[in-house]
Point group: C2
Chain length 284, copies 2
């Protein structure tokens, strides 16, 4: 099946190409945008690929204008693919009423509850549809893929990696939600998208999944600012520390003094994360 | 006279501090915002300072979220101050009607024509008021100052440097307007702010000023993308080449293959510009 992809924007950046694309998604049954950075090396051969999952309220744009990631991606020859954070423009009841649910807040799961089911399937979109589509349309080597993200997207990266260890070979996060089941953002999202049976929530809870399934592909690298407004109420890295210790998963949790939840924090440590992923993806 | 400065935002970034501030300006007779990046070295001693002048439609925010400049500024110990591009919120007739005149388009000059005069005095604001205020309130060494900018702001940086060689010791630009008098953006702005007597325009035209006054403090470093939509119609670097050759001013004009007018272009060559300025400011 040939999927039509429209180019929204394409521009030279650090010798490579930053693009934004749009396609009709089967998983979400609406138009979806995603961004792709291709380093200069991609003109010669297929390159390893990193998926970036953004946080609440973000689109595919925040990362590509704010993270500064293209510089080292160009140097080390890594593609970076940045999906949107949810379906858009469906006009479902309640879709645009809050910043932490509905549009901009897909939580990287497959919804089972009306009216979200059938559209809010970001888990399938990321792990299946976009993964295949990107491999077919861009000069990337999907056998060397890693995943990382921020906040809601850091939680998404952790859950998606742990559930698909054959597909993603390295994982890291900036200020991730560490257990969606145990924070207000997550409880609202899991309840709304999956209903009130908490058994279903465990399939999309990072701490629970790490404990039950483990993770051996790479250590888990986490940066977390000490002045992050959401540190104690939403993100709660102690949940990750506990389950990694119990499950024998190697966690490098770096508390970064004085940093907040913003892209100023993300940009400050982006090079470290790219270096971390490059180590695992380049050695494959 | 003590000026009150309000902190709009302050956050840790690459070990230093990115802030946005607001004050009541005497030069523009309205509230003005500006951004300051202080590198970690500023906690120990006063650091050299670079002023960044933005292009049409920008505020103080574009540079600080998109340029990626903080990384090398932190490494090399340089402060970067980013003013807004015009007065705001005065509700002058026509102020908000076009992207290239009025709000967001101050052109770094002192207006003489009603209703702009008395407010649209960005030349005095940058060279006098903000320069003094920054020296008084932040740990910067104003005897080691440079200036750079983009598009309208690149033109502003060139004119301001050339007219104040005792104050700015290095100058560079990304895709600058090279002669405001000879491009549609500039003709509209100079006519609107200064009236139709072209003698007055020469005081704010980069090519004219470089030819009449020269510039010996540093070479002039210019990066210009070959795929920039505005290259032939508005920016016209050949005017700069001509006057620099005639006036004996050293110009390094680098045509960058495939790049456009965006911050993706700016970010790609930001490190080179910071290195250029560091060389001149650090040796003072």
């Amino acid at each position: 099946m040939t999927v039509k992809i429209d180019t929204v924007m394409q521009t030279r950046c650090f010798g490579g190409t930053q693009g934004v694309y749009r396609h009709d998604s089967a998983a979400t049954r609406c138009g979806m945008r995603f961004a792709v950075y291709l380093p200069p090396q991609a003109r010669q051969s297929r390159v390893p690929v990193l998926y970036w999952l953004s946080g609440l309220t973000c689109t595919e744009e925040n990362f590509i204008i704010k993270s500064g990631a293209q510089r080292k991606a160009a140097e080390w020859g890594i593609a970076i693919i940045t999906p949107d954070t949810s379906p858009r423009g469906l006009n479902l009841p309640g879709e645009n009423e809050s910043y932490d649910f509905g549009a901009g807040a897909g939580f990287y799961l497959d919804a089972t509850q009306a009216p979200w089911s059938g559209h809010y399937n970001m888990y399938t979109y990321i792990t299946d549809e976009l993964f295949s589509l990107a491999a077919a349309h861009f000069p990337i080597d999907s056998s060397r893929a890693g995943i990382f993200g921020h906040s809601m997207g850091g939680h998404g990266a952790l859950t998606i990696a742990v559930k698909n260890p054959g597909q993603y070979h390295s994982v890291s996060a900036f200020a991730p939600i560490c257990s969606a089941m145990r924070c207000p953002w997550g409880i609202k999202a899991l309840g709304g998208y999956l209903g009130q049976h908490q058994e279903a929530w465990k399939e999309y809870d990072a701490a629970t999944l790490i404990e039950s399934r483990g993770w051996k592909n790479s250590p888990i690298l986490i940066d977390q600012g000490t002045e992050d407004t959401y540190l104690h109420t939403q993100l709660q890295p102690q949940f990750l520390q506990e389950v990694c210790a119990r499950a024998g998963v190697e966690l490098e949790l770096r508390m970064q003094d004085g940093y907040d939840h913003s892209y100023y924090f993300i940009a400050s440590f982006m090079d470290d994360h790219l270096k971390f992923h490059a180590k695992y993806l380049m050695s494959k």
